[in-house]
């Protein structure tokens, strides 16, 4: 049995009852009336609270910005009040809530900014005598990660985290209970749980689920029921609250308190509850996750291999040109094809791998919800990737070399990741299954010694090419079998390599994949866009009973006729101009391929694609077609351009470009749809667009313009409030002395307004930006 550890109840609603006006910050009220805060703390301690939360919830640099108070002053005053009340009767928690702004990618607050805000609070909090730090009422797992790392790296305080969920088991930002538990368990917090948003009854199933993913102490601090929407008042009384809370101690939950609407009476009622049961020694569920999606290690899970420059000229070009859109498309494509995890490898000579890893991880996370596998041999790049990752990742990879293990395992442990161990060491790849098995054992021992549980060690027994070393296929399969059966570990394999150099590669790849899965491979690294591979995985899941009732199999294949589909005629009578006008992507690509048989790339672009786009633009200007049609046509032309780019990249030639244009949505503004339309249309006119994204700092625009020597800059702003940063960006460009023209667009701009803020051109729409580009760059 475990003695209950009682927390306190609400501070905010208690302060309101004591005279805090609506809309005023409780932390500032506490500075002016420390005696009120201290009295509330005392009431809670008298009622049985042994950990009290200081009145510091919103005392962060962001929220205090315009108040004239420093974080230090506000924390010091409120922590002092808590300390006075606590004496040696209770511990004092530095209470830290969300910063109050949404983080990237949806919001504008960056991970590093969030980290800095929390680091300051934690440093000051420890100096002012806090006994622990509680991050509570959190809804964004990424913000929690920044907070936990800030606390870990800037203090020695124990770290507790509670998040707020809706009834469906997700926070407002979509974080699931499983993702929270797995990620925070990995990060090594001292306790975790749920607070606010719901009453005890609604939290019960969430805590049950949390307990399946972590054996760390669990916290429950619910509201007094649900609030009345019109008044914000809570209706549950203390006896009913305690009655509902009685369900938690038998589950082994022993840290209990109350949130909004609870009072010292509620805590007194909790003090009468019996001790908590011991949590059972049950096997925990494990997996890797993003904030909103868990990929549990309990069946075959496909790791998509396509975000990797090795042997891919077009991907290498995208990395060199920092074309994150191209990489995001590869992520979306694999997610749609059924990948469960995405491998991210950005290693290329001449590229700052750590910096690129951070950028790519963030970009991929903004468009897909799959968990990630950080693929690098450089410890700095691995750490950069793990830090930027929202959730729990896999590191790919370590091997049995002692130096590698020493360099990489501590990073894996710090971020709570899983890790791929390659059965290779300084003397190379062992030729026998037995020798590879021995290396696997060495890796597990090293991981365990670092505190990494064996469930998180994923062994890669290495696929060799049968066209070079035919007998090795069987050795690999034997090794997988041994690692799976004798060590009980999960197995990873880069499968595709098996068929390198052979015709009809899918035949060999699929057959090898099937055999390997039967021997224990559960994390194949493959190209999920290859239908045969995913078909095989779906069939295997049906045969292994993982796909209960064959539901996923049936959903994939039911209604598919086995009759060969009649191949669409490559456009039939259609011309490429007609295909573009109609917005038909595939037809445009097919017709472009046809044209390239007797025309050069540049001829196709200048004589066919661009004139076709001109016709579309004219129709748009005359009101004969409207915006979605204009963009559909641009997209169709894009399919033609992509084909041309691919051909040139494969030939190793220079990319076709009529000149570079820099685009950015200005600092403070996040409305980028207009800018994105302009990007698509400009790209289709053959310009190389460097898209800096949205909320782009003034200096970033200037630096990029100079570094890339760009002569035409396009700036976008939607709001009156952000046109000011457009003005500042233009002024900074002029001041830098870099010769360039600036075109601007956005809902609130007019030609006069554009001239007034110093722009060279006002562009009403995407078509107008092409006219400017032609005038400036030709």
């Amino acid at each position: 049995m475990a003695e209950l550890l009682l927390l306190d109840g609400a501070m905010g609603t208690m302060l309101q009852a004591a005279g805090l006006p609506l809309g005023e910050r409780p932390e500032l009220f506490g500075m002016e009336h420390p005696e009120v805060v201290e009295a509330i703390h005392r009431q809670y301690i008298d009622a049985g609270s042994r950990v009290i939360y200081a009145n510091t919830f919103g005392a962060n640099a962001h929220k205090l910005r315009d108040t004239g108070f420093t974080v230090e002053a506000v924390l010091a005053a409120n922590l002092a009040a808590a300390r006075r009340a606590a004496g040696d009767r209770a511990k004092v928690a530095l209470d830290v809530g969300p910063i109050g702004e949404l983080m990237e990618p949806l919001g504008t607050l960056s991970f590093d900014e969030a980290y800095a805000i929390y680091a300051e609070m934690v440093r000051v909090g420890q100096a002012c005598g806090a006994d622990l730090v509680i991050f509570e009422t959190m809804t964004d797992l990424y913000e929690v990660k920044a907070a936990v790392l800030a606390a870990r790296e800037n203090s020695t305080l124990p770290i507790w985290v509670t998040m707020s969920f809706e009834k469906g088991g997700r926070t407002f930002t979509g974080t699931t209970v499983a993702s929270m538990a797995a990620t925070l368990d990995g990060l090594g917090v001292d306790a975790m749980g749920v607070n606010c948003s719901l009453g005890p009854e609604e939290i019960l199933p969430l805590i049950r689920e949390m307990g399946e993913w972590t054996d760390r102490p669990l916290i429950v601090k619910p509201n007094a029921g649900l609030p009345d929407p019109a008044t914000g008042a809570y209706d549950m009384d203390a006896p009913e609250f305690a009655r509902q809370m009685a369900d938690f101690p038998p589950l082994g939950v022993h840290i209990l308190g109350g949130c909004c609407g609870t009072t010292p009476d509620f805590i007194r009622a909790l003090a009468a509850l019996p001790e908590a049961a011991q949590r059972g020694e049950k096997r925990l569920r494990r997996g890797v996750c993003s904030a909103s999606q868990m990929t549990e290690f309990n069946g075959v899970r496909v790791i998509g291999e396509r975000i990797n420059p090795t042997g891919k000229k077009r991907f290498q070009q995208a990395l060199r040109e920092r074309d994150l859109n191209y990489i995001m498309e590869r992520a979306i494509e694999q997610a749609d094809a059924g990948a469960d995890i995405l491998d991210i490898n950005v290693g290329l000579p001449g590229i700052d791998e750590s910096e690129m890893m951070t950028a790519v991880v963030k970009a991929v996370q903004s468009v897909v919800s799959l968990p990630l596998q950080i693929d690098s041999s450089d410890p700095a790049a691995i750490e950069a990737g793990l830090r930027a990752c929202n959730g729990r990742a896999i590191v790919n990879s370590v091997n049995a070399e002692p130096d590698k293990l020493r360099a990489i395992l501590p990073i894996v442990k710090k971020y709570g990741a899983a890790v791929v161990g390659l059965t290779i060491d300084q003397s190379g790849i062992p030729q026998t299954a037995g020798a590879r098995f021995e290396l696997a054992k060495q890796i597990v021992v090293a991981a365990l010694s670092q505190g990494i549980p064996k469930e998180d060690v994923l062994i890669d027994c290495l696929t060799l090419t049968i066209s070079a070393q035919q007998e090795q296929a069987l050795e690999t399969l034997r090794a997988v079998d041994m690692v799976h059966r004798e060590l009980g570990l999960h197995c990873v394999l880069g499968v595709s390599n098996i068929s390198f150099g052979l015709p009809e590669r899918d035949q060999i790849t699929v057959s090898f994949l099937t055999q390997a899965m039967a021997r224990g491979l559960d994390l194949p690294i493959v190209n999920p866009n290859t239908k045969a591979i995913m078909d095989t995985v779906f069939a295997y899941r049906a045969l292994s009973c993982e796909d209960v009732g064959c539901e996923a199999y049936i959903a994939r294949f039911a209604g598919q006729s086995s009759a060969p589909q009649t191949a669409p005629q490559a456009g039939g009578e259609m011309t490429v101009e007609q295909a573009i006008l109609k917005g038909l992507k595939q037809e445009t690509a097919d017709l472009t391929a046809g044209l390239l048989e007797h025309m050069t790339e540049l001829e196709v672009i200048n004589q066919r694609l661009i004139p076709a786009l001109d016709v579309v633009g004219e129709k748009y200007e005359k009101g004969q077609i409207f915006l979605p049609q204009l963009i559909n046509s641009a997209n169709a032309a894009c399919a033609g351009f992509d084909l041309i780019k691919l051909r040139i990249a494969q030939r190793g030639g220079e990319s076709v470009s009529k000149g570079k244009i820099l685009l950015a949505t200005v600092e403070g503004d996040i409305h980028d749809i207009g800018k994105n339309i302009v990007r698509v249309v400009l790209e289709n006119y053959g310009y190389q667009v460097i898209d800096l994204g949205r909320d782009v700092p003034v200096q970033t625009v200037v630096d990029a313009a100079i570094a890339e020597d760009v002569r035409l800059i396009g700036l976008s702003a939607l709001m009156t409030t952000t046109v000011e940063s457009m003005r500042r960006t233009i002024a900074a460009l002029r001041e830098s002395g870099h010769p360039c023209k600036v075109m601007v667009g956005g809902a609130v701009l007019t030609a006069d307004y554009a001239a007034e803020i110093g722009a060279d051109y006002y562009t009403r729409d995407a078509k107008a930006s092409v006219d400017v580009a032609k005038a400036v760059l030709g």
């Binding site: 702004e101 609030p227 903004s366 004969q624 409207f626 979605p628 709001m719």
Partner: protein, 221 residues
């Protein structure tokens, strides 16, 4: 009152897309239907509101919202402050389509605008019905950015509603709401019927579900 989202009005979406009667080819029809389905599936509408006291056309708890709102609230002793959002998943869907297909992105953006409008209209409608039982009437719905209602007050509005904690709606330093497809507004509560602006039923988000229209009437009298 729960946030409600019903079937989107195609005419309203076309209006946002700048459609002026051009023929719509079947592929585009299909594309629009697909976008409507995607956005509707991703929407997690949430709303929060409070009834606040009004004195001399100003909210007691939140003064300084401009002369236009003051004129509207002049006959009122109370007002409802509301915030509604479609949630962050819609935002991710819009971001994703911005990468894969800008035409989808533009259409989905219009769908999302129609969707948040739909949520607000339902709320307004439900509120109107509830107040009618009390013998009260609602003014027009007035949001930051309308007339001289300063955008800069967006942060204070959301703070007063505790919108970050209650519905996950936050505001940036530049007064932009995130998730972007969100609305805040003030509606006055008066003892007499108030003049309402005519909106044009064909492009109203309530078009498909409007009980007035079914009776051959309009909400704006």
């Amino acid at each position: 009152m729960e946030a409600r989202l019903t079937e989107l009005n195609r005419n309203e979406i076309l209006l946002y897309l700048g459609h002026r009667g051009q023929a719509i080819p079947p592929e585009l029809e299909e594309q629009m239907e697909r976008c409507i389905r995607t956005v509707t599936a991703a929407a997690r509408p949430r709303l929060v509101y409070r009834r606040l006291a009004v004195r001399d056309g100003e909210l007691d708890a939140l003064p300084g919202l401009g002369n236009d709102l003051r004129a509207i609230l002049r006959p009122c002793r109370e007002a409802v402050l509301m915030a509604a959002t479609l949630g962050p998943l819609v935002e991710q869907v819009l971001m994703r389509s911005g990468v894969t297909d800008m035409a989808d992105a533009v259409i989905m953006d219009a769908c999302a605008s129609a969707a948040i409008e739909n949520v607000c209209d339902h709320f307004e409608f439900d509120l109107r019905a509830e107040l009618k039982r009390e013998g009260c009437f609602l003014t027009d719905r007035f949001s930051p950015g309308y007339g001289d209602f300063p955008l800069e007050r967006q942060n204070a509005l959301c703070d007063t509603l505790n919108a970050a904690r209650r519905i996950g709606l936050t505001v940036t330093e530049n007064h932009i709401m995130i998730p972007r497809k969100s609305v805040t507004a003030v509606l006055g509560i008066a003892e007499n019927p108030q003049p309402l602006r005519a909106r044009g039923c064909a492009v109203c988000s309530m078009f498909l579900n409007c009980p007035y229209r079914k009776e051959g009437e309009t909400c704006h009298g």
